[in-house]
Amino acid sequence: MHELAVTKSILKLVLDHAAQNGGGEVLKITLVIGELRNLEEDWIQRYFDYISKGTPAEHAVIKVRKVPVAFLCKDCGRQFTGDLHREEKLLCPQCGGFSYDLVSGRELIVESVEVR
């Protein structure tokens, strides 16, 4: 449901940056979204199509680059991915340690746009 608020922010960022860089029609928008974010690509596009009507971005295609959830082991420095939706205990695959920091998976970024 919060896709609408997120999509409004995307549209504003995109229109502002396109206008600052000479304007034109926005063809493609690339987003970087961590897998921890509860955002559905289909819904973002649908909301975007609706709220962008009448703007230079109304036909833009949204591409999402998903970033996996990754951890950095504090004991051995190994970076590894893990599925937080599953019950298995998370352990470092290199040293078996269970002391680590979440280093990616919460991204929510407009990376770039293509303008003509």
Partner: protein, 228 residues
């Protein structure tokens, strides 16, 4: 023909909201008002925890509440009955509170007369996790009847909070709620998060929770509390 140009943006999608949240934190730091964002599912006990905390801290701190609710004013009436000022934000369907909404609500409170303001966020474990409200600390409540697997379904919420209050522990007996499994998972996901086991009904664990909160507020008075 016009050429296709690529423009690099690399900006956080919610940067407008986050900028506004920083403005709130700056203003509240100057006024020494502590802002606590309380998040949970509907029925987990957000209002109950706030009411119980008010009863324990009222003599020591000057309190206020921002009530987020989609339509009703039931919760803010409960707060006002405790003799504490409450501002109601009716979101009219929106599923979370954001920094501009909180900013508008704060403007209706007499901040010069307050030490601690609670935000009772909208009841769900998804959307509120995404939006910074300008709070100093974020706490989520998980109640025993909801089950210990909520952390597997909504890991983002558990990953961003500084405290997790497990409410309704009076329901633990006879339930299959696995407290150990939840604790382990919470530690894996967010090792710095404090856990409190409470019952707003029996009062169990509430003194410990209030002592932690009082400590956090005192640290802000001493000038040491930056948002985590």
């Amino acid at each position: 023909m016009d050429e296709i140009r690529q423009i690099d943006i690399r900006k956080n999608i919610l940067s407008d909201n986050e900028d506004q949240a920083e403005v709130i934190r700056g203003e509240l730091a100057a006024k020494k008002v502590f802002l606590l964002n309380v998040m949970a599912s509907p029925g987990a006990g957000k209002t109950s925890l706030i009411v119980q905390t008010i009863r324990r801290l009222k003599g020591r701190l000057r309190l206020g509440v921002i009530e987020g609710d989609i339509e009703s004013t039931v919760d803010s009436e409960k707060i006002v009955r405790e003799g504490v000022p409450a501002v109601q934000i009716r979101t009219g369907g929106a599923c979370h509170l954001d920094a501009p909404m909180v900013s508008a609500a704060l403007a209706e409170l007499e901040l010069g007369n307050l030490d601690l303001v609670f935000i009772e966020n909208i009841g769900n474990l998804i959307c509120p996790a995404e939006f910074d409200t300008g709070a100093d600390r974020k706490v989520m409540i998980l109640s025993v009847p909801e089950g210990d697997d909520k952390i597997l379904k909504y890991p983002l919420m558990f990953s961003i909070c500084e405290a997790l209050v497990i409410n309704k522990i009076d329901y633990l007996e006879g339930s299959d709620f696995d407290l150990q499994a939840l604790r382990r998972r919470a530690y894996e996901l967010n090792p710095g998060m404090r856990l409190f086991e409470v019952s707003c009904k029996t009062g169990a664990g509430l003194d410990e929770w209030c002592a932690w909160l009082l400590g956090e507020v005192s640290r802000k008075w001493a000038g040491g509390a930056a948002a985590a």
